[in-house]
Point group: C2
Chain length 213, copies 2
DNA sequence: TGCCAAGTATGACGTCCGACCTACAATGCA
DNA sequence: TGCATTGTAGGTCGGACGTCATACTTGGCA
């Protein structure tokens, strides 16, 4: 049945899930083939670049899903604190529901591959840039200035990534919930986030803005 | 030179460094052997449990180093904000100095191995418990109540872990510094952290304390 | 002092599994 | 019907983990 099969797309989705749950090295090509039901011989037809190309596609797909998750969580939120909580609930549910296997879709790959692959590194950076942008845009709708919104977005991303690691290590949701609630609470009671407050000592400290963007 | 060689210790130190920089799967036994100068045949004499036992030893060693780092950073600090900054400087220096290869000593292994190995999972949990304890104890010296100190420790650990991921992905220190500075700043200007402030709405929210410990 | 035994350490080897390549089949279009 | 493009199964090569027979050193004893 040649001429356009959906094998490629199915492989990317299966790979994204496996990379997220197990990581890059623990996921064999044969695992992706089995999970997707794709034929074995097609791999290097669909992905001439091999496993790394498959990873690149999976990373981009993860970027899409993160953006969608932020958008979904933002519905009905009235401030950064409630957005953090809404996102935290979504992530916590998936973490618990998967038996502490499903964390961030790209974190494992970042740590495994970023030091080795300049190419994939730029893909990772894109995903975080998209995530940062989605969060910052949402924060700005609540009258947070762009600079502070970016700083806050970095802090929020970091807490989510890190809390996932700590909770996955302990196989216990409490560290995650404590970190998320602590962040939401701090952010909620921080008046300097809002535009018009003392800009002499802006949130995020002095001279610490992005140099590359 | 049989009868007590230091091969075992050297292998653990080399493995800890390699696991930290490259991760578990990307580090071959032969890499550890080469880096430590130990002979190939000694591996299963010193580590009958194989690579996993070597990893367990390396994880414990990482726990020691983290405790020492917290103690070193705490010297001369007058509050949680300055401790966060001091730790941040130490970590940032190593991250930059290593070309964004040296992050958290165990984070990569947590994501790679925690879903698969119940045994190593408990080792990871021990390291984070030690780290949490070291931070919380230090916070308590600044009149922060034990419950809030634990919540704050989880938040701090999460920010460090997550910020390392984001910065390693981008190969840029700015996201790390933004997150650390944002955290330090929030913590510094949070009066509810101190004992004696309105305990009706404690920092960290309600009903979110550790259930297992 | 010379020898033996036990524990210690080691280089060479086997086995398995991973990614990747090559030769072949099937289909749509001219 | 013939050809180019798409899709496929089996096979190969390399490397990593783990094992084994062997050599070396130390301590005790005659």
């Amino acid at each position: 049945m040649p001429r356009r099969s959906d094998s490629r797309s199915r492989m990317i989705h299966a790979a994204a899930r496996l990379f997220r749950d197990r990581g890059y090295y623990a996921t064999a090509f044969s695992d992706v083939i089995q999970a997707s039901g794709a034929p074995r011989g097609s791999t290097y037809f669909h992905f001439p670049g091999g496993k790394q190309e498959l990873a690149r596609e999976a990373i981009a797909l993860a970027g899409d899903e993160i953006e969608q998750m932020v958008a979904a969580a933002a519905v009905g939120c009235e401030g950064p604190g409630s957005l953090v909580r809404a996102l935290g609930d979504m992530v916590a549910d998936r973490l618990e529901g998967s038996g502490y296997r499903s964390g961030c879709a790209i974190a494992t790959m970042v740590l495994e591959l970023a030091p080795q692959s300049e190419d994939l590194s730029s893909e990772f950076e894109k995903v975080f840039a998209r995530w940062r942008h989605a969060l910052a845009r949402q924060f700005e709708t609540w009258r947070i200035t762009p600079g502070r919104a970016t700083d806050l977005a970095d802090l929020v991303m970091s807490v989510f990534e890190g809390a996932l690691i700590v909770s996955r290590a302990a196989r216990d949701i409490d560290p995650f919930r404590r970190a998320i609630e602590g962040l939401a609470d701090l952010v909620e009671h921080e008046p300097r986030l809002l535009a018009g407050s003392s800009q002499a000592a802006p949130f995020g400290g002095a001279g610490c803005h992005q140099g590359t963007g």
